[in-house]
Subunit: 200 residues, 2 copies
């Protein structure tokens, strides 16, 4: 049965392709866009087109950028001797928001996952090795996700990088801040015990 | 602090203007659109532009349409003697999904709400009166929302329409199907008692 005019149905359909947007939300957003000021609706359409047209991967670190190299790689105030390896551009944002890292990034664009047919060759690893050639990088921090794929990727990279870099580290597993021991899963709690640190 | 390339920041910003989309979801959707197949991302942009360009209000019922009159008003199989008055185009969709109404609609585009400066003049009421002139409409169903504004609008319209139409009705208030008496609010329960019907 057909409840909508064709362009409305198409808009709902396209909205529903976004992740986490079900049919109800897609309809709500579509009706909102029909009713919103033209600037809001067309501004979104323009922003999508513009972002798709201008955004590339940074040839140095692999992050999303509209200028090459990206603004992080170009930033003179950042240390060039520490590299933080992450899976996705969104992880760069997450790390930046901590304000605790002042080095450079390297984005792999995924993690090793044989189930999905993603091996080391599919990741931006060659670029990482090239970056380490003849550079004084003293530490590589492996900040892939703390799950099976991320751990496997970190393990693989550690083996690859240890002969090339003085220090290869992995971000800590443990209890999130504000958590409750009672409700923590055993694996996380076990990891937080394993990774315990001297009180200062 | 700036975490994104400019076009990415703009896309996140525009995404965040959508209702119910917070900054975290906006970022997630923006990164999805950057990474998705070009067809998905540009398809959405095109659908927004196309819908905004082609969708108008139906000059008969006020619903969204790309052809005038809309496909519901043009449908010869629908009864022309019963009108269902709703607040928004999305309410037409909700009514159609019940498959229990075979008449025509009239969309007010809002409800009387003095707090928001919306009086009867701001609503599509003149169009409704014009539709009733010289037509054999035997019933108008007032299907505005069961809240203060919708009830006020229904009351106002009832006064206006009763001299013109043989039957003016209001959709029933009561317990939703599957509800529990124990958890129903007093007002709803009171209304369901008031509106009780003979068992057949």
């Amino acid at each position: 049965m057909n409840y909508y005019a064709r362009p409305v149905a198409r808009l709902i359909d396209e909205m529903g392709k976004l992740p986490g947007i079900g049919p109800k939300t897609a309809q709500r957003l579509a009706f909102y866009l029909l009713n919103a000021p033209a600037d809001t609706a067309l501004g979104l359409a323009r922003a999508i087109k513009e972002a798709r047209a201008s955004i590339r991967y940074c040839t140095v670190c692999g992050n999303y950028t509209d200028e090459d190299p990206c603004f992080i790689c170009r930033d003179e105030r950042r240390g060039r001797d520490v590299l933080c390896v992450v899976e996705h551009p969104r992880d760069v944002v997450a790390m930046e928001k901590t304000r605790s890292f002042g080095g450079l990034y390297h984005v792999l664009h995924g993690a090793i996952s044989p189930m999905d047919g993603i091996g080391p060759e599919q990741l931006n690893i060659r670029g990482l090795l090239k970056r380490l050639e003849g550079r004084d990088v003293c530490e590589v921090i492996l900040a892939t996700n703390p799950n099976v794929e991320g751990d496997a990727t970190a393990l693989y990279l550690a083996g690859l990088l240890k002969p090339l870099v003085p220090r290869v580290t992995r971000i800590a597993h443990g209890l999130p801040v504000g958590a409750d021991l009672e409700y923590a899963d055993e694996v996380t709690l076990g990891k937080s015990l394993e990774g315990r640190q001297e009180m200062k």
